[in-house]
């Protein structure tokens, strides 16, 4: 079986031994002549909070809709707990979706919304009543059982959409950008609630988002999609600390890029020459054997300023200062390059560096990453 990305096949993970919830086998999708998704294969494991992350148009929603059954893959199969579900229509698949717009039925009360799936599955009345009460309790909405969706706030609708999708005990819960319609504060609160709910129910969540912070915060593993391809698959730490390529490094978090020549590769380290003529030994995980050119990524928070400057020391001029409360972002001109640096405002009384000032900056070469192609 072909695997893209790095997650499940990497050494030191115990994922192999876990039960597979969803297997995406060589799946691709064409819309007319447009290739929405190139052939991808990966597995989603039981009890996992799995995130499909990518910019709009990257194919993440298409993938989710194919698992739900709203789109048919052009090639390949989708397997749910060992069963090929390709031939099943959406209503016969034991997966449920939390829709981006929530899609609550406006003519039904919240109770009726939650009971809907159970009625369709032919549950006995008593069990439906008990399950609806349980679900309303789970999302702290019992008081509102008889209300209609229009009478709720965004966050409350979100909770009901969750309860409705969880009620029929799906094998996998699909979430299509469920937080995107909420305002910032609520979004952060809902993140925690979602994560807690996932732990509490032990259910497999497949979460689609374009928000990298959300993905890092909640996921067990993230599948980064771009241009209809899997760019990287790994834990939040892996995709942030060891991005496989420029796309991932750029999409997740802030970073500085330098085009470098690869001099030699030895294990997890690579010797590279920067445009400034500096020879460095930086970390690498994704450089190909025959790669002569590469991108060096250096995160802004890995660079120290003035007295915090250690390792490779450079000198530059501050060209812009952005005070953001917890952090101050600087752009520092070193030779021809603009380097972005963030410094934690640990001490209240330390003033920001003035624009135009000449500063020392330093970084440890091993915290810089040489990226693959």
């Amino acid at each position: 079986m072909i695997r893209a990305g790095t997650g499940p096949t990497r050494k030191g993970t115990d994922l192999e031994t876990r039960k597979k919830a969803v297997e995406i086998r060589q799946v691709s999708k064409m819309f007319g002549t447009f290739q929405a998704l190139e052939t991808v294969s990966f597995d989603i494991y039981d009890n996992e909070f799995f995130t499909l992350l990518g910019p709009s148009g990257c194919g993440k929603t298409t993938l989710l809709r194919m698992i739900a059954g709203f789109e048919e893959p052009s090639t390949g199969q989708i397997v749910l707990h060992g069963n090929d579900i390709q031939a099943l229509p959406p209503h016969k698949r034991r997966v449920n979706t939390v829709f981006q717009s929530y899609a609550l039925f406006p003519h039904m009360t919240l109770e009726q919304n939650i009971a809907y799936a159970l009625e369709n599955l032919g549950w006995p009345k008593e069990m439906i009543r008990a399950r609806v009460a349980e679900m309303l309790d789970l999302v702290h909405m019992s008081k509102f059982a008889r209300r209609k969706p229009q009478q709720l706030s965004g966050g409350q609708r979100q909770r009901i959409a969750l309860a409705r999708a969880l009620a029929p005990e799906p094998e996998v819960l699909l979430l299509d950008e469920p937080l995107s319609a909420l305002d910032l504060k609520l979004r952060q609160a809902m993140r925690e609630e979602l994560r807690a709910l996932q732990r509490q129910t032990g259910l497999t969540f497949v979460f689609v988002t374009h928000d990298q912070e959300e993905a890092l915060d909640m996921s067990d593993r993230i599948c980064v999609l771009g241009d209809g391809r899997i760019q990287q698959l790994g834990t939040p730490r892996e995709v942030y600390e060891d991005p496989s390529n420029r796309f991932v490094a750029h999409f997740i978090g802030e970073t500085n890029f330098f085009d470098v020549d690869v001099l030699s590769v030895e294990g997890d380290m690579a010797r590279v020459r920067t445009p400034l003529g500096l020879d460095l030994t930086a970390s690498q995980k994704h450089v190909a054997a025959d790669q002569s050119r590469a991108t060096l990524s250096l995160r802004p928070e890995k660079i120290g300023l003035e007295e915090q400057a250690t390792g490779e020391i450079l000198t530059g001029t501050v060209t812009s200062t952005n005070y953001l409360g917890g952090y101050t972002y600087y752009v520092i001109r070193v030779g021809e390059a603009d380097i972005r640096v963030s410094r934690r405002n640990a001490m209240s009384h330390v003033p920001s560096l003035a624009e135009g000032a000449t500063v020392r900056l330093g970084f440890l070469p091993e915290s810089a990453r040489v990226l693959g192609q």
Partner: protein, 292 residues
């Protein structure tokens, strides 16, 4: 500002009064008058016209119950109900299909739905005579296939009348139903499938309830003119089967009994108002439930 509102709306008020309220008042007045010797009416107050709907006057002036006109009223209501129901059943799939088309096709199809209104009603109903009549399109077509040789007449029966009625009024159903289906959020249909609802369950529990307001609006638009239909019963029903519309027309025409015609017209109007009132009550009750 107030002045402008008064003077600005005055033409509308005058028009309403002259074309709507005054004529109705005249009809009411006529219905309570005595029949003139040579048609027309003489205004001497009497309720004879209304009594005539229910009772016959015997030779000796005693009243005997005569259900003949009640039958006509009942038949009219029944025909209107059947037409409305058939229109609903046919218009829903048609409207649904139109919503599934591309933007351009949709505009053209909606235009096609309204196209019959550009042609006179009489011409359109006559067209059905040609379709259904002896040596008409259907009969000739069937004979050409050689399968059927001896056909009973397709015209001048309840079926022909119903076909004509449905044909005449179905655009009034398609348009509001289309509007309500178009407003339907496709995500709701997906959500229904996602929550294990089959196509049938989705139609019955999600699509139809959410399109109900459109169906009700269409039903009123169809039902009301059906009650007063004149042309279809005469031309397609052969005039043998009297409807309220024909009855009224006869009283003002051949029978020269204006007060009686007027009284039936008032009954017809009251019937319409009762149905509108029932619908209004239903709507308010629903709105109250939403509020609670």
């Amino acid at each position: 500002m107030r002045d402008f509102r008064f003077w600005g709306l005055l033409p509308a008020h005058v028009l309403m009064a002259l074309t709507l309220i005054v004529p109705i008042l005249i009809i009411v007045a006529v219905s309570f008058s005595t029949r003139g010797a040579y048609g027309g009416f003489e205004f001497t107050f009497t309720t004879d016209a209304y009594r005539q709907i229910l009772f016959n006057e015997g030779w000796t002036g005693e009243l005997e119950f005569n259900p003949q006109y009640l039958y006509i009223i009942g038949r009219t209501v029944l025909l209107a109900c059947c037409t409305t129901f058939l229109c609903m059943a046919l218009a829903f799939p048609i409207a649904y299909w139109i919503t599934l088309q591309g933007h351009k096709a949709r505009v053209i199809l909606l235009f096609a739905v309204t196209l019959p209104f550009w042609v006179s009603m009489i011409v359109r109903v006559y067209a059905w005579l040609i379709i259904l009549g002896n040596d008409g399109v259907i009969e000739k077509g069937l004979r050409l296939t050689g399968l059927v040789d001896d056909l009973p007449s397709l015209l001048f029966n309840n079926g022909a009348m119903l076909a004509g009625m449905v044909y005449s009024y179905i655009p009034l159903m398609i348009l509001p139903v289309f509007a309500s289906i178009e407003k339907l959020d496709p995500a709701l249909i997906e959500a229904s499938h996602d929550l294990h609802g089959s196509r049938w369950v989705t139609l019955r529990r999600i699509i139809l309830p959410l399109c109900w307001p459109g169906l009700v609006a269409g039903a009123i638009l169809v039902f009301v003119p059906c009650l007063g239909a004149v042309l279809e019963p005469v031309l397609l029903g052969g005039g043998k089967i009297l409807m309220m519309g024909n009855l009224i027309q006869m009283q003002f025409g051949g029978a020269r009994n204006w007060p009686f015609g007027a009284s039936i017209a008032i009954v017809l109007m009251c019937l319409v108002m009762v149905f509108l009132l029932l619908n209004g009550l239903r709507a308010t009750r629903k709105a109250m439930e939403e509020m609670a």
